[in-house]
Symmetry: C2
Subunit: 337 residues, 2 copies
């Protein structure tokens, strides 16, 4: 399977790393031989029809900062759409940074690949949160797969779980902690009695919160994930603007202490159902599956037969997110082979 990777930040590098790590496993277990035939970053591309070397890709990026400096096969200034036009491949891995205003450039990459009859795996929330139905229709029309497990909680594989493992159940609603940064901040506030501002600053110093934490702490990131799950699991044709969003920046240590006295915790919860599409701080009970701490993500599916089923996993991390992309690649391979 010939793969093009667009975007070579933490997730793109994670994908190269896991493909390198799992070559023997994939070949022996599934007969799958993934070949990375092109990689793009802001500097240009590295392109090799017979497959680039994953370790050399990672070395080039780490040591030289630009993928276009890949020995002999670097292509400075060649842009992503050009690569999709010129290179022969089977599957696009779209892992450029998320943009939630217009979803670009990921949206154009994904549409171009699908219109050319290629399967797509992405971790990019932007295009899906803004125009899920358009992308889904395009995939259907062109008979290609569009997979996006990595968009919703890196290593909390809730989407494929809903479609594959719960095949006999109808899923009625989704409820979850969908953002690791806010869960980390709220957990530390609860355990240490510290203020929101102080805890956020410490989380930034530790690299858990970003320098500009707006999308995380104001619930936008969680809202994107709720939109993607609402569309793909509940078949609700909604977009980001349909979500009522409230973040955690106004939560005080006093309100957390008060909740704690009653055996409760405050968590930033996303909910999707035919009646509600919302991200907001809510009380959860100690001892419930939602009482998890740290950067963990958790999502509960309310089903008609199995009652509530919950998945807990790491919400972020380069290799963890890449593992979701790899699972998507494997499931495409199972269909295509």
């Amino acid at each position: 399977m010939k793969i093009v990777i667009l975007g070579f930040g933490a997730v793109g590098q994670g994908v190269a790393r896991v493909i390198s790590m799992k070559k023997d496993y994939l070949r022996s277990k599934y007969g799958l031989k993934p070949q990375i035939v092109a990689v793009c970053d802001h500097s240009g591309a590295a392109i090799k029809e017979e497959g680039l070397d994953e370790k050399l890709l990672l070395e080039t990026k780490t040591e030289k900062g630009k993928i276009s400096l890949y020995p002999s096969y670097g292509a400075p200034g060649v842009d992503s759409l050009q690569v999709l036009e010129d290179v022969e491949y089977d599957c696009l891995v779209e892992v450029t940074p998320t943009d939630i205003d217009d979803g670009e450039p990921a949206r154009s990459h994904i549409l171009k690949a699908m219109e050319d009859g290629k399967d797509v795996v992405t971790s990019n929330k932007g295009p899906l949160a803004l125009s899920f139905q358009e992308l889904g229709d395009c995939a259907g029309k062109n008979g290609v797969e569009l997979k996006f497990e990595a968009c919703v909680g890196g290593a909390m594989p809730i989407i494929n779980f809903a479609h594959e493992t719960l095949a006999g159940c109808n899923i009625e609603s989704i409820y979850g902690i969908l953002n690791g940064t806010t869960n980390y901040i709220l957990s530390r506030m609860a355990n240490e009695g510290s203020s929101y501002e102080q805890t956020l600053q410490e989380a930034q110093e530790m690299g858990i919160a970003e320098t500009n934490p707006y999308q995380d702490v104001e619930g936008i990131d969680a809202a994107c994930k709720i939109v993607i799950m609402a569309n793909s699991i509940l078949n609700l044709p909604v977009t980001l603007k349909d979500v009522d969003v409230e973040g955690i920046s106004r939560i005080t240590s006093e309100s957390i202490a008060l909740a704690k006295k009653e055996g409760m915790l405050i968590k930033l919860i996303g909910e999707a159902s035919p009646d509600a599409l919302e991200v907001s701080p809510r009380l959860v009970r100690q001892g419930s599956p939602f009482a998890v701490e740290g950067t963990l993500n958790v999502a509960t599916l309310k089903t008609d037969l199995a009652d509530d089923v919950t998945v807990v996993g790491k919400g972020a991390g380069s290799v963890e997110t890449a593992s979701a992309i790899l699972s998507d690649i494997v499931s495409i391979w199972k269909i295509r082979k």
Copy 2:
């Protein structure tokens, strides 16, 4: 798909109920038309080539106590092996009561069906805990499917999750709360400071613990599940006698209170890895995915790429367990159609 159900207690009746509930869904989503062509209980059988009526099956059992009194198609005294010999069917649903001494009669039912080239779905832990490898070999030799999601935590679908959803990951170990009765008892002891004996008695009065609670409270039920997961997820050829088992009957309210002071809980934990096969009471941290209360089950898979991934769900319940059986039926259908 023609289905024979052996055993018509809570789980068997749940299967009839979910098939009845989900007929339209299964037909429109998967093109699957399940037909129950025979059902056996201790009294005999009900057999009808064109398919028995699910509601009439449930009515007959509830009102008359014997499935052999099914109108016009009852067959008093006809036993299970005879049914498997005489009836034309595609898939056996084996849901007779679990026996952990010799696994019978389920073991003979399952072997007979597989040797006749039929697929099997079971919720029966006995045969799998005692002779997983033999049954797996028999399935392989006869080219049939043997599925058993319902054996391990009714509505906590960890086995198919491991095989399908985490397709790109290697799973290194399994760790979980695998018995709802003991989790319920330990949760109440922690919340109320009550003694083991008193809490067990109340759980029995509520129907959460059985009259003879030995297999639950002494960890045998959890050990069976650990054996099944070790075989099917970790490929370890172990049986029940390989598990070190310690139950919860010697846990005092004092030790639980002491743990609680340090932000810990005592839970009955099962572990399977290449180095350990064990069920025993252990300390878990408040705020971890293992701090769940009530009758919930939880299992964590330690993976090479996605770190720890956890599934939480109801461990028991007629319809919940039947939902796992239905998911197995659907996945067999996807292979066969």
